[in-house]
């Protein structure tokens, strides 16, 4: 930005974000996160799964990771915020996805912490044995410690709990206290891995016969390779840390995506080289294959390898592993705390998660609960590979969500963001990534660790339950438009109800007439709603100042409703958008009908009746009746296009309710395909006629029906089965009528995309007065439609 421009836009008291990190810095952040505890703890376990094909597993993981890394490069460059994946899912996916992303992220980071705590414990036991503090007891899993005999698994779990408690305390004191140590550890562990690789390569090239240890390459077949891929996937997730630094990076649009790719370029070959030297340079003393030897050593596999060919191998590897697992445990304790803290602040979890300690300024309750999760999983999940698999499954699902989110974010906000990188072959590469990640999660569950699958399934089920019964309600409390005045509302929510939003005195008569006729056919409650709107810049509390303005129109409408024999319930809400207030009222009172006016012009060209009504139709599961401003009721000649015969009863009933009491004529037009046989057409007509049998209508052409006992002519109806194009047929017939009453039930998005919305085309072409009716569907259908609508819709512009 130029200085001139900056001075023009910046207020006098302003500060710029400190952007200190360059490309090298953030690349190293990513490398440090990936060349961490994973390589020390997981290499041996994964070698036991894949055999020498561990090298193939690491390569394939590199490809899978690259696909998601592209997505991270794109989103990290455009939305460089500390929230990373969780934030993007909040932006890009509807409903409970953000909650589940946070819930999974919390678990994934916490269980990764459990993995590193257990890994630390295993390496500490080895260290204690090396320095003679711990003595072996022959013939079992027992060790001597200070004169006590103790079971090795118990000792390891105890040490894991102890180190987890230590890091909970360190994080409580403040993460900055470990910053310098973290930098030293990073440099140290990369150096140790470097020495390990060079030593191993020297052994292999000194004795090329050792390459024979790669035969057979995949003793456990593809299943073993895929299992190892799933187990070690967590090792490559460090690129997530790069995008988390976004707010402190110089030129983030260029540097973040570059760092993501450069970090992978460094890390993937290092993992492959580690696998190569582990398999090639190790000589199993018990005569087994080197991969079996490593697999049997489990989380200590790398140590056992280093003992054989690396100078000071035991000491260096133990030091490297202890510091790596400690730094990783520190990072995951911090990150899991941060996720749960953010969820507390976002009202997804109880407020106590968002509490900050007055002295240390750390989110101490989130920390304690995250620590409890880390310790609980370390203790409860029996084997370390189950712990790793549980964290892996959760990260795979989380990355899957991010891959979906990138598709929606590009569609909804694409041209409004400054991208530094755009994923190629979009959206196919993200979709392929999703499929591969789901496949890996399934392989982990089925072939590697059913225990991990069950644990993660239980965690997800708990998350869904919490969201359904708790978080979704808290989210709604946050978003709902407040009610300012509520009068006479002693309603039974189970009872039938009609909501009439009132804003224009000129249209209330028609709205009340329709409402009364609906309530005549189905007795229930009438709710009159007036919405006070305030601009986005102002808090909704400002709306209280305008209650007095709302009174006259609401009182006048209530008087008119009483004159029509109804007992109205009145409600005043305040919000930034009228549609939100109406939708909130429909949801709170479970309204069956919304009857509203429309001035007759859509300011938003993408909608039939303007974005307000369009949003109400889409987002509230109620029957919505919309009366255009030119409607005069009651009408004498009404044309009713019927899309589905099963809607005939409701549509004809509605038409009857807005028709003159005497001598009205209602024509139901059902346009069918020309391919329908005469017999099929007759069946459709019979079905429609059957649906009208309960209504007080008389079949026949014209307006003068048979007179009743009071001398009034009965309302007549006719059913026409037409063939051809729906739009011109209805537009052509509408010229002879006083009113067109048309269903606006939504077509599938594919049909709308290809053919355009029929309702839209008819509504914009007819000249006669128009009433639009949107019939509500079943709850499941509505929820499914809401979900897909989210992906289809683009965003409205925010108020400047």
């Amino acid at each position: 930005m130029t200085a001139q421009h900056q001075s023009a836009v910046a207020p006098s008291h302003s500060t710029e974000l400190s952007r200190d990190l360059g490309l090298f810095d953030i690349t190293m952040v990513g490398v440090a996160a990936m060349i961490g505890a994973g390589i020390f703890v997981l290499t041996g376990i994964a070698a036991g799964q894949a055999g020498p094909a561990l090298i193939v597993a690491f390569a394939l993981n590199g490809i899978v990771t690259l696909l998601t890394a592209m997505v991270y490069a794109e989103l990290g460059s455009a939305i460089p915020e500390a929230g990373g994946g969780y934030l993007w899912v909040r932006q890009g996916l509807p409903g409970g996805n953000a909650f589940m992303a946070g819930w999974m992220s919390w678990f994934a980071h916490a269980v990764a912490g459990s993995l590193y705590a257990l890994g630390f414990a295993a390496y500490l036991v080895e260290t204690l044995a090396l320095i003679g503090v711990l003595g072996p007891v022959a013939g079992g899993e027992l060790v001597q410690l200070g004169g006590m005999t103790i079971a090795l698994p118990v000792l390891e779990k105890t040490l894991a709990v102890a180190i987890a408690l230590l890091f909970i305390y360190i994080n409580f004191r403040g993460a900055s206290e470990t910053g310098m140590a973290g930098n030293i550890i990073t440099v140290g562990k990369i150096a140790i891995i470097g020495v390990f690789i060079v030593s191993g390569l020297a052994v292999i090239f000194g004795d090329p016969q050792r390459l024979g240890q790669f035969v057979p390459l995949a003793p456990n077949g593809l299943t073993g390779i895929f299992g190892a891929m799933g187990l070690t996937f967590i090792a490559y997730e460090g690129y997530e840390i790069i995008v988390q630094t976004g707010e402190e990076v110089k030129d983030p649009r260029r540097n973040i995506p570059k760092a993501v790719f450069l970090a992978l370029l460094i890390v993937v070959p290092i993992y492959m080289l580690v696998a190569f030297v582990c398999i090639g340079a190790v000589h199993a003393p018990d005569g087994t294959a080197s991969w079996q030897f490593l697999g049997n050593a489990g989380e200590l596999g790398l140590l056992r390898a280093a003992e054989q060919f690396m100078p000071l191998g035991s000491v260096l590897l133990l030091v490297g592993a202890l510091f790596s697992t400690m730094s990783a445990l520190n990072a995951t304790t911090y990150s899991s705390t941060r996720v749960s803290f953010a969820m507390g602040r976002d009202r997804n979890l109880p407020d106590m998660f968002g509490a900050v300690h007055p002295r240390t300024r750390t989110p101490y309750l989130a920390l304690v609960l995250s620590g409890a999760l880390i310790i609980g999983m370390a203790v409860l999940i029996p084997e370390i590979n189950d712990v790793a698999a549980a964290a892996d499954i959760m990260f795979l699902l989380l990355f899957g969500q991010v891959n979906i989110a990138v598709i929606t974010i590009r569609r909804k906000y694409g041209d409004k963001l400054a991208y530094g990188y755009l994923t190629p072959f979009f959206p196919y590469l993200p979709i392929i990534a999703i499929v591969l990640q789901l496949a890996l999660a399934v392989v982990l569950f089925l072939n590697v660790s059913p225990t991990a699958g069950v644990v993660t399934a239980i965690w997800l089920a708990i998350g869904l339950a919490i969201h359904h019964f708790y978080a979704s309600k808290r989210e709604r409390e946050e978003e709902v438009t407040p009610v300012l005045v509520e009068e006479r509302l002693k309603m039974d929510h189970e009872r039938f109800s009609v909501l009439v939003p009132v804003s224009n005195p000129a249209t209330v008569d028609n709205l009340l007439a329709v409402a009364r006729n609906i309530l005549d056919t189905e007795p229930g409650d009438l709710i009159l709603l007036h919405v006070i709107t305030v601009p986005d810049q102002l808090p909704v509390s400002v709306g209280r100042d305008f209650i007095a303005d709302a009174r006259p129109i609401l009182d006048e409408t209530a008087r008119k409703a009483e004159a029509l024999g109804m007992t109205p319930n009145t409600l005043v809400r305040v919000g930034h958008r009228p549609a939100d207030a109406i939708i909130d009222t429909v949801e709170e009172h479970d309204c069956n009908f919304v009857v509203m006016g429309w001035r007759g012009k859509a300011s938003d060209p993408r909608t039939i009746v303007g974005s307000n009504i369009d949003n109400i139709v889409k987002e509230s599961n109620a029957n919505v009746v919309v009366l255009r401003g030119d409607v005069e009721l009651p009408a004498r000649r009404i044309l009713v296009p019927i899309q589905h015969p099963q809607h005939g009863h409701l549509m004809a009933g509605l038409a009857a309710s807005v028709a003159t009491e005497s001598g009205a004529y209602i024509e139901l037009v059902h346009v069918v395909s020309e391919e329908l046989t005469p017999q099929e057409r007759a069946e459709r007509a019979a079905e429609l006629r059957e649906s009208l049998s309960a209504l007080d209508l008389e079949p026949g052409e014209g307006e003068a029906g048979e007179a009743d006992s009071e001398g009034r002519s009965k309302r007549r109806f006719r059913i026409r089965i037409e063939t051809g194009d729906v739009v011109p047929t209805i537009v052509g017939r509408s010229g002879d009528f006083d009113l067109l009453l048309m269903g606006a039930s939504r077509e599938s998005w594919i049909r709308r995309k290809v053919w355009g919305d029929k309702t839209f085309r008819i509504a914009t072409q007819v000249d006669c007065p128009l009433v639009l009716v949107n019939l509500r569907g079943g709850k499941l259908k509505f929820n499914v439609s809401q979900f897909f609508q989210f992906f289809w819709d683009t965003e409205e512009e925010p108020t400047p």
Binding site: M1, T2, Q4, H5, Q6, V9, A10, P11, S14, T15, E16, R19, P52, A53, V56, A59, L60, G62, I63, M70, A73, I79, E81, R90, Q91, G92, A98, L211, G212, F214, V215, P216, L217, A218, R253, R254, P257, K258, F261, L264, L265, P269, F276, Y413, G414, D415, K416, L417, A418, Y419, G420, Y421, L422, T423, P424, F425, E796, E797, P798, T799
Partner: protein, 106 residues
């Protein structure tokens, strides 16, 4: 979530710049396809080699693939950056603040 959230986060482009930028990737697609083909082929070679020399040739090719795809991606980032600048200049918006260059109130 909405545009307002992105606006509050300071990551939205200025309104006059909406729709100005091309959303087609600047990645060279034929080269990317070729590199991905090399990557997959190298993994297949590693696997089919069954521990023979072919496996190690495949591993070597995979390392070449990693270098190549990184080169393609970084080149695309540079092209994207230049293209972004050109699009701003064409729309006479080169002096407008970008997300990340804005200042924030105390």
């Amino acid at each position: 979530m909405s545009l307002k959230n992105l606006q509050d986060a300071g990551v939205l482009l200025p309104k006059e710049e909406w729709g100005v930028h091309d959303l087609h990737t600047s990645v060279n697609k034929p080269r990317l396809l070729a590199s991905l083909a090399l990557g997959l082929a190298s993994v297949v070679m590693m696997y089919l080699g069954s521990g023979s020399a072919l496996t190690f040739v495949g591993a070597g090719l995979f390392l070449i693939f990693m270098v190549w795809i990184t080169h393609i991606s970084i080149r695309a980032i540079n092209v994207q950056s230049a293209q972004f600048r050109q699009e701003r200049e064409a729309a006479h918006l080169e002096d407008a603040p970008l997300p990340g260059e804005t200042t924030f109130d105390d």
